[in-house]
Symmetry: C2
Subunit: 271 residues, 2 copies
Protein backbone atom coordinates (compact mmCIF):
# COMPACT_ATOMS: atom_id res chain seq x y z
CA UNK A 1 0.00 0.00 0.00
CA UNK A 2 1.16 3.57 -0.65
CA UNK A 3 2.74 5.05 2.49
CA UNK A 4 0.50 8.12 2.37
CA UNK A 5 -2.64 6.03 1.91
CA UNK A 6 -1.70 3.78 4.82
CA UNK A 7 -0.84 6.77 7.01
CA UNK A 8 -4.14 8.53 6.32
CA UNK A 9 -6.07 5.34 6.98
CA UNK A 10 -4.20 4.82 10.27
CA UNK A 11 -4.88 8.40 11.38
CA UNK A 12 -8.59 7.76 10.85
CA UNK A 13 -9.14 4.17 11.94
CA UNK A 14 -6.90 4.36 15.02
CA UNK A 15 -7.83 7.94 15.84
CA UNK A 16 -4.15 8.57 16.56
CA UNK A 17 -1.37 10.94 15.51
CA UNK A 18 1.15 9.09 17.69
CA UNK A 19 4.31 7.58 16.21
CA UNK A 20 6.21 5.25 18.54
CA UNK A 21 9.95 5.52 17.97
CA UNK A 22 11.88 2.27 18.36
CA UNK A 23 15.33 3.24 19.70
CA UNK A 24 16.38 0.05 21.49
CA UNK A 25 19.11 0.62 24.09
CA UNK A 26 20.01 -2.77 25.61
CA UNK A 27 21.37 -1.14 28.78
CA UNK A 28 17.81 0.00 29.54
CA UNK A 29 16.09 -3.32 28.83
CA UNK A 30 14.40 -5.21 31.68
CA UNK A 31 16.67 -7.70 33.42
CA UNK A 32 15.09 -10.83 31.94
CA UNK A 33 16.25 -9.77 28.47
CA UNK A 34 19.88 -9.07 29.39
CA UNK A 35 22.30 -11.26 27.49
CA UNK A 36 19.60 -12.75 25.23
CA UNK A 37 20.85 -12.93 21.62
CA UNK A 38 17.52 -11.69 20.22
CA UNK A 39 16.86 -9.20 23.03
CA UNK A 40 16.44 -6.26 20.66
CA UNK A 41 13.82 -8.03 18.56
CA UNK A 42 11.99 -9.34 21.63
CA UNK A 43 11.96 -5.95 23.34
CA UNK A 44 10.80 -4.05 20.27
CA UNK A 45 8.23 -6.60 19.11
CA UNK A 46 6.63 -6.68 22.57
CA UNK A 47 6.41 -2.87 22.50
CA UNK A 48 4.92 -3.04 19.00
CA UNK A 49 2.32 -5.67 19.93
CA UNK A 50 1.31 -3.69 23.02
CA UNK A 51 0.88 -0.36 21.20
CA UNK A 52 0.03 -1.02 17.53
CA UNK A 53 -3.67 -0.18 17.90
CA UNK A 54 -2.71 3.20 19.43
CA UNK A 55 -0.33 4.50 16.75
CA UNK A 56 -0.41 5.86 13.21
CA UNK A 57 3.11 4.52 12.51
CA UNK A 58 6.29 3.07 14.00
CA UNK A 59 9.74 4.57 13.54
CA UNK A 60 12.76 2.32 14.17
CA UNK A 61 16.00 4.33 14.45
CA UNK A 62 18.59 2.31 12.53
CA UNK A 63 21.65 3.55 14.47
CA UNK A 64 20.56 1.61 17.56
CA UNK A 65 20.44 -1.60 15.55
CA UNK A 66 23.66 -0.94 13.61
CA UNK A 67 25.69 -0.19 16.75
CA UNK A 68 24.64 -3.61 18.10
CA UNK A 69 25.34 -5.50 14.84
CA UNK A 70 21.60 -6.25 14.80
CA UNK A 71 20.46 -5.59 11.23
CA UNK A 72 18.92 -9.07 11.17
CA UNK A 73 16.74 -8.16 14.16
CA UNK A 74 15.65 -4.95 12.41
CA UNK A 75 14.66 -6.97 9.33
CA UNK A 76 12.71 -9.37 11.55
CA UNK A 77 11.06 -6.52 13.45
CA UNK A 78 9.77 -4.76 10.34
CA UNK A 79 8.56 -8.07 8.91
CA UNK A 80 6.79 -8.70 12.23
CA UNK A 81 5.03 -5.32 12.11
CA UNK A 82 3.83 -5.94 8.56
CA UNK A 83 2.67 -9.49 9.32
CA UNK A 84 0.96 -8.89 12.66
CA UNK A 85 -0.21 -5.31 12.24
CA UNK A 86 -0.94 -4.84 8.55
CA UNK A 87 -1.63 -1.26 7.50
CA UNK A 88 0.75 0.18 10.10
CA UNK A 89 3.41 2.14 8.19
CA UNK A 90 7.05 1.75 9.24
CA UNK A 91 9.40 4.72 8.90
CA UNK A 92 13.09 3.81 8.84
CA UNK A 93 14.76 6.69 10.65
CA UNK A 94 18.11 6.68 8.86
CA UNK A 95 18.61 10.34 7.84
CA UNK A 96 20.56 9.23 4.79
CA UNK A 97 22.05 11.71 2.34
CA UNK A 98 24.41 11.00 -0.54
CA UNK A 99 24.90 11.48 -4.27
CA UNK A 100 22.72 9.56 -6.71
CA UNK A 101 24.57 6.26 -7.07
CA UNK A 102 25.09 5.82 -3.32
CA UNK A 103 21.61 7.15 -2.55
CA UNK A 104 20.25 4.45 -4.85
CA UNK A 105 21.98 1.85 -2.68
CA UNK A 106 20.54 3.39 0.49
CA UNK A 107 17.07 3.27 -1.10
CA UNK A 108 17.58 -0.44 -1.79
CA UNK A 109 18.69 -0.90 1.82
CA UNK A 110 15.64 0.86 3.26
CA UNK A 111 12.86 -0.25 0.95
CA UNK A 112 13.98 -3.63 -0.41
CA UNK A 113 16.22 -5.09 2.27
CA UNK A 114 14.39 -3.78 5.34
CA UNK A 115 10.95 -3.40 3.76
CA UNK A 116 10.37 0.04 5.27
CA UNK A 117 7.41 2.10 4.03
CA UNK A 118 9.22 5.43 4.42
CA UNK A 119 12.69 6.78 5.18
CA UNK A 120 14.04 9.98 6.71
CA UNK A 121 16.50 11.80 4.41
CA UNK A 122 18.87 14.76 4.86
CA UNK A 123 18.38 17.56 2.29
CA UNK A 124 21.89 19.12 2.46
CA UNK A 125 23.05 17.56 -0.83
CA UNK A 126 20.02 18.76 -2.79
CA UNK A 127 17.39 17.38 -5.08
CA UNK A 128 19.32 14.79 -7.09
CA UNK A 129 20.47 13.21 -3.81
CA UNK A 130 16.80 12.66 -2.95
CA UNK A 131 15.57 11.46 -6.37
CA UNK A 132 16.52 7.78 -5.87
CA UNK A 133 14.12 7.62 -2.91
CA UNK A 134 11.40 9.64 -4.65
CA UNK A 135 11.42 7.16 -7.52
CA UNK A 136 9.85 4.63 -5.17
CA UNK A 137 6.58 6.50 -5.59
CA UNK A 138 4.65 4.33 -3.12
CA UNK A 139 7.21 4.98 -0.36
CA UNK A 140 7.39 8.00 1.91
CA UNK A 141 10.40 10.34 1.78
CA UNK A 142 10.64 12.43 4.93
CA UNK A 143 13.12 15.29 4.64
CA UNK A 144 14.82 16.89 7.62
CA UNK A 145 13.64 20.48 7.82
CA UNK A 146 13.86 21.90 11.36
CA UNK A 147 15.38 19.57 13.93
CA UNK A 148 14.68 19.55 17.66
CA UNK A 149 18.28 19.65 18.92
CA UNK A 150 20.01 22.85 20.12
CA UNK A 151 22.56 22.85 17.27
CA UNK A 152 19.71 22.66 14.77
CA UNK A 153 19.89 26.44 14.56
CA UNK A 154 23.57 26.49 13.50
CA UNK A 155 22.55 26.12 9.84
CA UNK A 156 18.77 25.72 9.69
CA UNK A 157 18.09 29.14 11.16
CA UNK A 158 20.40 31.07 8.82
CA UNK A 159 18.76 33.80 6.77
CA UNK A 160 19.10 32.73 3.13
CA UNK A 161 17.65 35.95 1.69
CA UNK A 162 14.73 38.28 2.32
CA UNK A 163 14.31 37.02 5.87
CA UNK A 164 13.73 33.43 4.74
CA UNK A 165 15.42 30.86 7.01
CA UNK A 166 17.19 27.81 5.61
CA UNK A 167 14.54 25.46 7.07
CA UNK A 168 11.81 27.53 5.40
CA UNK A 169 13.63 27.22 2.07
CA UNK A 170 13.80 23.45 2.57
CA UNK A 171 10.08 23.34 3.36
CA UNK A 172 9.29 25.36 0.25
CA UNK A 173 11.60 23.33 -2.04
CA UNK A 174 10.11 20.06 -0.85
CA UNK A 175 6.46 21.16 -1.02
CA UNK A 176 6.72 23.07 -4.31
CA UNK A 177 9.36 21.16 -6.27
CA UNK A 178 10.45 17.79 -4.85
CA UNK A 179 6.97 16.45 -4.03
CA UNK A 180 5.97 15.68 -7.63
CA UNK A 181 4.75 12.19 -6.71
CA UNK A 182 2.98 13.25 -3.53
CA UNK A 183 5.21 11.08 -1.36
CA UNK A 184 7.14 13.75 0.59
CA UNK A 185 6.91 14.73 4.23
CA UNK A 186 9.06 16.86 6.57
CA UNK A 187 10.71 16.50 9.98
CA UNK A 188 9.98 19.49 12.22
CA UNK A 189 11.00 19.35 15.88
CA UNK A 190 8.45 19.87 18.65
CA UNK A 191 10.71 22.25 20.54
CA UNK A 192 9.83 25.16 18.23
CA UNK A 193 6.00 25.37 17.92
CA UNK A 194 6.02 28.73 16.13
CA UNK A 195 8.30 27.22 13.52
CA UNK A 196 5.99 24.21 13.14
CA UNK A 197 3.21 26.73 12.47
CA UNK A 198 5.37 28.50 9.91
CA UNK A 199 6.15 25.23 8.12
CA UNK A 200 2.47 24.27 8.14
CA UNK A 201 1.70 27.63 6.52
CA UNK A 202 4.26 26.93 3.77
CA UNK A 203 3.40 23.32 2.93
CA UNK A 204 -0.39 22.99 3.00
CA UNK A 205 -1.45 19.54 4.13
CA UNK A 206 1.95 17.84 3.79
CA UNK A 207 2.40 15.38 6.69
CA UNK A 208 4.91 16.43 9.34
CA UNK A 209 6.95 14.04 11.47
CA UNK A 210 7.47 15.75 14.82
CA UNK A 211 10.09 14.38 17.21
CA UNK A 212 10.92 16.04 20.49
CA UNK A 213 7.91 15.55 22.76
CA UNK A 214 8.35 13.47 25.91
CA UNK A 215 11.99 12.96 26.88
CA UNK A 216 13.08 15.89 24.71
CA UNK A 217 10.65 18.31 26.39
CA UNK A 218 8.40 19.53 23.58
CA UNK A 219 4.90 20.65 24.50
CA UNK A 220 2.05 18.52 23.13
CA UNK A 221 -0.68 21.17 23.11
CA UNK A 222 1.49 23.74 21.35
CA UNK A 223 2.73 21.14 18.85
CA UNK A 224 -0.74 19.97 17.88
CA UNK A 225 -2.20 23.44 17.62
CA UNK A 226 0.73 24.63 15.51
CA UNK A 227 1.06 21.61 13.27
CA UNK A 228 -2.33 20.03 12.57
CA UNK A 229 -3.63 20.20 9.03
CA UNK A 230 -7.05 21.52 8.00
CA UNK A 231 -8.73 18.17 8.75
CA UNK A 232 -7.01 17.94 12.15
CA UNK A 233 -4.58 15.23 11.11
CA UNK A 234 -1.29 15.88 9.25
CA UNK A 235 1.04 14.95 12.11
CA UNK A 236 3.14 11.97 13.15
CA UNK A 237 4.09 12.98 16.68
CA UNK A 238 6.97 10.81 17.79
CA UNK A 239 7.72 9.61 21.28
CA UNK A 240 10.49 7.09 21.86
CA UNK A 241 12.15 6.85 25.27
CA UNK A 242 9.16 8.05 27.33
CA UNK A 243 7.18 5.09 25.98
CA UNK A 244 9.88 2.41 25.53
CA UNK A 245 11.26 2.81 29.03
CA UNK A 246 8.04 3.68 30.89
CA UNK A 247 8.52 0.43 32.79
CA UNK A 248 11.71 -1.44 33.59
CA UNK A 249 10.46 -4.87 34.60
CA UNK A 250 8.62 -7.89 33.17
CA UNK A 251 5.60 -5.65 32.62
CA UNK A 252 7.52 -3.14 30.48
CA UNK A 253 5.18 -3.62 27.52
CA UNK A 254 2.07 -2.94 29.62
CA UNK A 255 3.75 0.19 31.00
CA UNK A 256 4.59 1.25 27.45
CA UNK A 257 0.95 0.76 26.46
CA UNK A 258 -0.23 2.99 29.30
CA UNK A 259 2.30 5.68 28.31
CA UNK A 260 1.29 5.43 24.65
CA UNK A 261 -2.41 5.64 25.53
CA UNK A 262 -1.81 8.71 27.69
CA UNK A 263 0.23 10.36 24.94
CA UNK A 264 -2.29 9.55 22.21
CA UNK A 265 -5.12 10.92 24.35
CA UNK A 266 -3.15 14.05 25.30
CA UNK A 267 -2.60 14.67 21.59
CA UNK A 268 -6.27 14.07 20.78
CA UNK A 269 -7.43 16.50 23.45
CA UNK A 270 -5.76 19.30 21.47
CA UNK A 271 -6.79 18.33 17.94
CA UNK B 1 47.20 5.79 15.79
CA UNK B 2 45.51 9.19 15.46
CA UNK B 3 43.80 9.51 12.08
CA UNK B 4 45.55 12.79 11.30
CA UNK B 5 48.97 11.39 12.26
CA UNK B 6 48.43 8.33 10.08
CA UNK B 7 47.18 10.44 7.18
CA UNK B 8 50.17 12.80 7.30
CA UNK B 9 52.57 9.86 7.50
CA UNK B 10 50.86 8.20 4.53
CA UNK B 11 51.03 11.40 2.45
CA UNK B 12 54.77 11.48 3.07
CA UNK B 13 55.88 7.85 3.00
CA UNK B 14 53.71 6.87 0.02
CA UNK B 15 54.11 10.17 -1.76
CA UNK B 16 50.40 10.04 -2.56
CA UNK B 17 47.27 12.16 -2.15
CA UNK B 18 45.10 9.43 -3.69
CA UNK B 19 42.17 7.93 -1.79
CA UNK B 20 40.70 4.80 -3.36
CA UNK B 21 36.95 4.65 -2.81
CA UNK B 22 35.53 1.17 -2.26
CA UNK B 23 32.00 1.22 -3.76
CA UNK B 24 31.48 -2.46 -4.59
CA UNK B 25 28.75 -3.03 -7.18
CA UNK B 26 28.39 -6.81 -7.70
CA UNK B 27 26.88 -6.32 -11.16
CA UNK B 28 30.25 -4.92 -12.28
CA UNK B 29 32.42 -7.63 -10.72
CA UNK B 30 34.44 -9.95 -12.99
CA UNK B 31 32.60 -13.12 -13.94
CA UNK B 32 34.59 -15.47 -11.69
CA UNK B 33 33.20 -13.68 -8.62
CA UNK B 34 29.54 -13.82 -9.63
CA UNK B 35 27.43 -15.74 -7.15
CA UNK B 36 30.27 -16.14 -4.62
CA UNK B 37 28.98 -15.50 -1.07
CA UNK B 38 32.06 -13.45 -0.13
CA UNK B 39 32.41 -11.75 -3.53
CA UNK B 40 32.34 -8.24 -2.05
CA UNK B 41 35.14 -8.96 0.39
CA UNK B 42 37.21 -10.77 -2.23
CA UNK B 43 36.77 -8.02 -4.81
CA UNK B 44 37.57 -5.19 -2.39
CA UNK B 45 40.46 -6.92 -0.63
CA UNK B 46 42.14 -7.70 -3.96
CA UNK B 47 41.79 -4.03 -4.94
CA UNK B 48 43.21 -3.02 -1.56
CA UNK B 49 46.19 -5.38 -1.78
CA UNK B 50 46.96 -4.19 -5.32
CA UNK B 51 46.85 -0.47 -4.48
CA UNK B 52 47.71 0.03 -0.79
CA UNK B 53 51.25 1.29 -1.44
CA UNK B 54 49.84 3.93 -3.82
CA UNK B 55 47.24 5.54 -1.56
CA UNK B 56 47.03 7.81 1.48
CA UNK B 57 43.73 6.21 2.58
CA UNK B 58 40.84 3.96 1.60
CA UNK B 59 37.19 4.99 1.70
CA UNK B 60 34.56 2.24 1.77
CA UNK B 61 31.06 3.59 1.02
CA UNK B 62 28.75 1.81 3.46
CA UNK B 63 25.58 2.00 1.32
CA UNK B 64 27.02 -0.52 -1.15
CA UNK B 65 27.56 -3.01 1.66
CA UNK B 66 24.25 -2.33 3.41
CA UNK B 67 22.20 -2.77 0.22
CA UNK B 68 23.77 -6.24 -0.16
CA UNK B 69 23.29 -7.24 3.50
CA UNK B 70 27.10 -7.40 3.68
CA UNK B 71 28.05 -5.62 6.90
CA UNK B 72 30.09 -8.69 7.88
CA UNK B 73 32.17 -8.31 4.72
CA UNK B 74 32.73 -4.63 5.50
CA UNK B 75 33.95 -5.55 8.99
CA UNK B 76 36.27 -8.16 7.47
CA UNK B 77 37.53 -5.71 4.85
CA UNK B 78 38.47 -3.00 7.33
CA UNK B 79 40.13 -5.58 9.59
CA UNK B 80 42.04 -6.82 6.53
CA UNK B 81 43.29 -3.31 5.70
CA UNK B 82 44.47 -2.75 9.26
CA UNK B 83 46.17 -6.16 9.47
CA UNK B 84 47.84 -6.25 6.07
CA UNK B 85 48.46 -2.56 5.46
CA UNK B 86 49.03 -0.98 8.87
CA UNK B 87 49.16 2.79 8.88
CA UNK B 88 46.64 3.09 6.03
CA UNK B 89 43.68 5.08 7.38
CA UNK B 90 40.17 3.90 6.55
CA UNK B 91 37.39 6.46 6.12
CA UNK B 92 33.89 5.06 6.50
CA UNK B 93 31.84 7.06 4.00
CA UNK B 94 28.50 7.04 5.80
CA UNK B 95 27.45 10.72 5.79
CA UNK B 96 25.60 10.21 9.06
CA UNK B 97 23.72 13.02 10.77
CA UNK B 98 21.43 12.78 13.78
CA UNK B 99 20.80 14.20 17.26
CA UNK B 100 23.20 13.35 20.08
CA UNK B 101 21.84 10.05 21.36
CA UNK B 102 21.47 8.52 17.89
CA UNK B 103 24.73 10.08 16.71
CA UNK B 104 26.43 8.35 19.63
CA UNK B 105 25.14 5.04 18.28
CA UNK B 106 26.41 5.85 14.79
CA UNK B 107 29.82 6.68 16.28
CA UNK B 108 29.85 3.26 17.97
CA UNK B 109 28.90 1.67 14.64
CA UNK B 110 31.69 3.40 12.72
CA UNK B 111 34.55 3.39 15.19
CA UNK B 112 33.91 0.39 17.44
CA UNK B 113 31.97 -2.06 15.31
CA UNK B 114 33.65 -1.38 11.96
CA UNK B 115 36.96 -0.09 13.31
CA UNK B 116 37.06 2.86 10.90
CA UNK B 117 39.65 5.60 11.48
CA UNK B 118 37.38 8.38 10.23
CA UNK B 119 33.76 8.95 9.20
CA UNK B 120 31.99 11.37 6.88
CA UNK B 121 29.24 13.36 8.64
CA UNK B 122 26.46 15.70 7.45
CA UNK B 123 26.48 19.14 9.15
CA UNK B 124 22.78 20.05 8.63
CA UNK B 125 21.80 19.30 12.24
CA UNK B 126 24.58 21.43 13.73
CA UNK B 127 27.33 21.13 16.26
CA UNK B 128 25.76 18.94 18.94
CA UNK B 129 24.93 16.37 16.25
CA UNK B 130 28.66 16.15 15.49
CA UNK B 131 29.98 16.13 19.08
CA UNK B 132 29.60 12.35 19.63
CA UNK B 133 32.05 11.74 16.77
CA UNK B 134 34.40 14.54 17.84
CA UNK B 135 34.68 12.96 21.28
CA UNK B 136 36.66 10.15 19.69
CA UNK B 137 39.61 12.53 19.51
CA UNK B 138 41.89 10.07 17.69
CA UNK B 139 39.33 9.56 14.91
CA UNK B 140 38.76 11.78 11.90
CA UNK B 141 35.43 13.60 11.45
CA UNK B 142 34.95 14.68 7.86
CA UNK B 143 32.06 17.12 7.41
CA UNK B 144 30.21 17.56 4.13
CA UNK B 145 30.85 21.10 2.93
CA UNK B 146 30.50 21.45 -0.86
CA UNK B 147 29.40 18.31 -2.67
CA UNK B 148 30.17 17.37 -6.25
CA UNK B 149 26.61 16.59 -7.42
CA UNK B 150 24.46 19.05 -9.41
CA UNK B 151 21.88 19.45 -6.61
CA UNK B 152 24.68 20.37 -4.22
CA UNK B 153 23.93 24.00 -5.05
CA UNK B 154 20.27 23.79 -3.96
CA UNK B 155 21.24 24.58 -0.37
CA UNK B 156 25.04 24.81 -0.18
CA UNK B 157 25.24 27.76 -2.55
CA UNK B 158 22.62 29.88 -0.79
CA UNK B 159 23.78 33.29 0.40
CA UNK B 160 23.54 33.23 4.20
CA UNK B 161 24.47 36.88 4.67
CA UNK B 162 27.02 39.36 3.36
CA UNK B 163 27.69 37.24 0.29
CA UNK B 164 28.77 34.24 2.34
CA UNK B 165 27.53 30.93 0.90
CA UNK B 166 26.21 28.15 3.13
CA UNK B 167 29.20 25.91 2.31
CA UNK B 168 31.56 28.73 3.30
CA UNK B 169 29.75 29.08 6.62
CA UNK B 170 30.13 25.34 7.18
CA UNK B 171 33.85 25.56 6.37
CA UNK B 172 34.27 28.45 8.80
CA UNK B 173 32.23 26.82 11.60
CA UNK B 174 34.22 23.60 11.31
CA UNK B 175 37.66 25.23 11.11
CA UNK B 176 37.05 27.91 13.76
CA UNK B 177 34.68 26.23 16.22
CA UNK B 178 34.13 22.49 15.80
CA UNK B 179 37.78 21.50 15.30
CA UNK B 180 38.80 21.90 18.95
CA UNK B 181 40.55 18.52 19.00
CA UNK B 182 42.22 18.92 15.62
CA UNK B 183 40.37 15.93 14.16
CA UNK B 184 38.12 17.64 11.60
CA UNK B 185 38.27 17.62 7.82
CA UNK B 186 35.89 18.68 5.04
CA UNK B 187 34.39 17.16 1.89
CA UNK B 188 34.72 19.51 -1.10
CA UNK B 189 33.81 18.21 -4.56
CA UNK B 190 36.31 18.33 -7.42
CA UNK B 191 33.76 19.74 -9.84
CA UNK B 192 34.15 23.27 -8.44
CA UNK B 193 37.89 24.13 -8.27
CA UNK B 194 37.34 27.80 -7.47
CA UNK B 195 35.26 26.74 -4.49
CA UNK B 196 37.98 24.33 -3.36
CA UNK B 197 40.34 27.31 -3.46
CA UNK B 198 37.88 29.38 -1.43
CA UNK B 199 37.55 26.64 1.19
CA UNK B 200 41.34 26.28 1.37
CA UNK B 201 41.56 30.03 1.99
CA UNK B 202 39.08 29.73 4.88
CA UNK B 203 40.44 26.65 6.65
CA UNK B 204 44.25 26.88 6.62
CA UNK B 205 45.82 23.44 6.45
CA UNK B 206 42.71 21.42 7.30
CA UNK B 207 42.70 18.23 5.20
CA UNK B 208 40.12 18.13 2.41
CA UNK B 209 38.49 14.98 1.06
CA UNK B 210 37.81 15.61 -2.62
CA UNK B 211 35.47 13.27 -4.50
CA UNK B 212 34.48 13.82 -8.09
CA UNK B 213 37.57 13.17 -10.19
CA UNK B 214 37.52 10.28 -12.65
CA UNK B 215 34.01 8.99 -13.38
CA UNK B 216 32.44 12.21 -12.08
CA UNK B 217 34.53 14.41 -14.40
CA UNK B 218 36.52 16.66 -12.06
CA UNK B 219 39.83 18.01 -13.33
CA UNK B 220 42.94 16.77 -11.48
CA UNK B 221 45.24 19.71 -12.24
CA UNK B 222 42.68 22.30 -11.21
CA UNK B 223 41.78 20.34 -8.08
CA UNK B 224 45.36 20.00 -6.88
CA UNK B 225 46.28 23.59 -7.62
CA UNK B 226 43.17 24.87 -5.85
CA UNK B 227 43.25 22.55 -2.86
CA UNK B 228 46.81 21.74 -1.82
CA UNK B 229 48.00 23.06 1.52
CA UNK B 230 51.16 25.11 2.07
CA UNK B 231 53.34 21.97 2.23
CA UNK B 232 51.74 20.57 -0.93
CA UNK B 233 49.71 17.91 0.85
CA UNK B 234 46.33 18.55 2.52
CA UNK B 235 44.22 16.54 0.08
CA UNK B 236 42.61 13.11 -0.07
CA UNK B 237 41.60 12.96 -3.72
CA UNK B 238 39.09 10.17 -4.14
CA UNK B 239 38.62 7.97 -7.15
CA UNK B 240 36.26 5.00 -6.97
CA UNK B 241 34.73 3.60 -10.14
CA UNK B 242 37.56 4.62 -12.52
CA UNK B 243 39.93 2.47 -10.45
CA UNK B 244 37.65 -0.35 -9.23
CA UNK B 245 36.30 -1.13 -12.68
CA UNK B 246 39.39 -0.33 -14.77
CA UNK B 247 39.45 -4.03 -15.71
CA UNK B 248 36.58 -6.49 -15.91
CA UNK B 249 38.35 -9.84 -15.97
CA UNK B 250 40.58 -12.05 -13.80
CA UNK B 251 43.23 -9.33 -13.94
CA UNK B 252 40.91 -6.63 -12.53
CA UNK B 253 43.24 -5.93 -9.59
CA UNK B 254 46.25 -5.39 -11.86
CA UNK B 255 44.15 -3.04 -14.01
CA UNK B 256 43.08 -1.20 -10.87
CA UNK B 257 46.72 -0.86 -9.85
CA UNK B 258 47.64 0.67 -13.21
CA UNK B 259 44.72 3.12 -12.95
CA UNK B 260 45.67 4.03 -9.37
CA UNK B 261 49.31 4.54 -10.35
CA UNK B 262 48.31 6.79 -13.26
CA UNK B 263 46.00 8.80 -11.02
CA UNK B 264 48.54 9.15 -8.23
CA UNK B 265 51.19 10.29 -10.72
CA UNK B 266 48.80 12.71 -12.44
CA UNK B 267 48.07 14.23 -9.03
CA UNK B 268 51.78 14.43 -8.16
CA UNK B 269 52.63 16.19 -11.42
CA UNK B 270 50.52 19.14 -10.26
CA UNK B 271 51.61 19.34 -6.61
Amino acid sequence: MHFMTALRAAWRTRNSLLCVGLDPDPTRFPAHLHGQPDAIFRFCSEIVDATADLVCCFKPQIAYFAAQRAEDQLEALIAHIHARHPGTPVILDAKRGDIGSSAGQYAVEAFERFGADAITVNPYMGRDSVEPYLEYTDKGVILLCRTSNPGGSDLQFLDVGGGERLFERVARLVADEWNQSGNCSLVVGATFPNEIARVRELVGDLPLLVPGIGAQGGDIAATVEAGRSADRTGLMINSSRAILYAGADHDFAAAARRAALDTRDAINRHR
